[in-house]
């Protein structure tokens, strides 16, 4: 199975781990990631005004490219996942944006949201299946109590992203279980880490991440996983981090699949 792959800017740079372990794991799991040539940054956030199009065009181009290849589009970064899915939803359902974006892009045929956008985890859940995944695990993460930290962008708005139940998600927990680890459920897992305010209000994000660590360790987590480079950054800024390491979910995946070395 081949997928168009949209890595996004951060994965090329600060979050190379998220990317490289994903690629190695994909090979081990038997699917191929074809990076979209000349992709442009998704913008990191969905535009503030629902009536804007200029800031949506880079996503539209990537989506249309995947459509032309006849492939589903995979992303890993929670921000790209969020933006691509929402823009795709606009292209499918919002007449005005669809028309304006297509007028601007002048594709061979108009893009109308045909591409299916999938998060890497969704491919594992919906295409490969957790049962199949657990069969491929060579180094089960036995005895590890892992807290899934979802943050906000992967889950919300739940109706459009259609990723998992936004209030009570279980995809990452099932993932951890499939890898042989023990998922730790805690209520802060879908609460915001403070996000981009880290730039101007680092103290505030610190408060947030402390609460996240308190809650997750309170329930017994000995490490956290995330899919978001920004969450990773903010969590890493916390002092608690020394006791509780934070990993990209792909890193644990690669470890369990035994492909860390080649990555």
């Amino acid at each position: 199975m081949k997928y168009s792959y949209y890595p996004g800017c951060t994965l090329k740079n600060k979050a190379q781990d998220l990317d490289k372990y994903a690629r190695a794991s994909a090979v081990a799991l038997g699917f191929e990631l074809e990076e979209i040539p000349e992709w442009q940054c998704c913008g990191g956030v969905y535009p503030l005004g629902s009536d804007e199009i200029a800031t949506k065009l880079s996503s539209v181009r990537a989506l249309n490219y995947a459509k032309e290849q006849g492939q589903d589009l995979i992303t890993l970064c929670s921000a790209c996942h969020h933006v691509l899915k929402r823009v795709n939803d606009d292209m499918k359902n919002v007449e005005d944006i669809k028309n304006r974006a297509n007028n601007y892009c002048e594709f061979d045929e108009p893009y109308q949201g045909e591409t299916k956008v999938l998060h890497f985890l969704e491919v594992i859940r919906d295409v490969i299946g957790f049962e199949e995944l657990s069969k491929k695990v060579v180094n089960p993460l036995e005895g590890r109590k892992i807290g899934a930290y979802y943050g906000c962008l992967t889950l919300r708005p739940g109706k459009i992203l259609d990723f998992d139940d936004p209030e009570n998600p279980k995809i990452m927990e099932d993932f951890i279980r499939a890898l042989g680890g023990e998922p730790v459920v805690y209520s802060m897992r879908n609460e915001c880490c403070g996000g981009y305010t880290a730039l101007k209000d680092p103290d505030f994000t610190k408060q947030r991440t402390e609460q996240i660590f308190d809650d997750s360790t309170g329930f017994g987590a000995d490490c956290l996983i995330t899919a978001c480079p920004l969450c990773m950054y903010n969590l890493n800024k916390s002092e608690a981090k020394s006791k509780v390491p934070v990993y990209y979910f792909t890193e644990l995946l690669a470890e369990a699949l035994g492909v860390m070395e080649g990555a």
Binding site: L48, C152, R156, E167
Partner: protein, 129 residues
């Protein structure tokens, strides 16, 4: 249509949400992780807009403190989506006033070495036009 109603129409258009649907239940405010930072609370955005107190919103600290975490949008029982009203306020500042919360000159100073690109672009999008 009154002047006030026209302004509300503009906000409706930018935000794609309708402040008149708000029933003042406060679930947004209850959900907001940035509550402590906000001088005007999320649930008040709808009432400020309906009252026509756009100036106060625009001048507020709150408009820039929203984390865009969508908790209020997800949970709002009336589908008012207060987070979108906050975003719309920022847009009005950017579109009508050219005011930005983040100036390019500030950036080098704020830049940490391990800062992910995602943070920078997000912040730029959120704080500026």
């Amino acid at each position: 249509m009154t002047e006030l109603e026209k302004n509300i129409e503009i906000i409706k258009e930018i935000s794609g949400s309708d402040p008149y649907k708000c029933m003042r239940c406060g679930k947004c405010t209850a959900s907001c992780p940035a509550y402590s930072e906000m001088d005007i609370k999320p649930h008040q955005f709808a009432s400020y807009i309906i009252r026509g107190d756009l100036e106060e919103l625009i001048d507020s600290k709150a408009a820039w403190k929203c984390l865009s975490c969508f908790a209020c949008i997800e949970r709002c029982p009336r589908d008012v989506q207060p987070g979108k009203l906050v975003d719309a306020t920022r847009q009005i500042v950017a579109r009508q006033r050219g005011g930005d919360y983040l100036q390019p000159e500030e950036v080098p100073e704020l830049l940490a070495e391990d800062l992910p690109q995602q943070l920078l672009v997000s912040a730029f999008r959120r704080y500026r036009r």
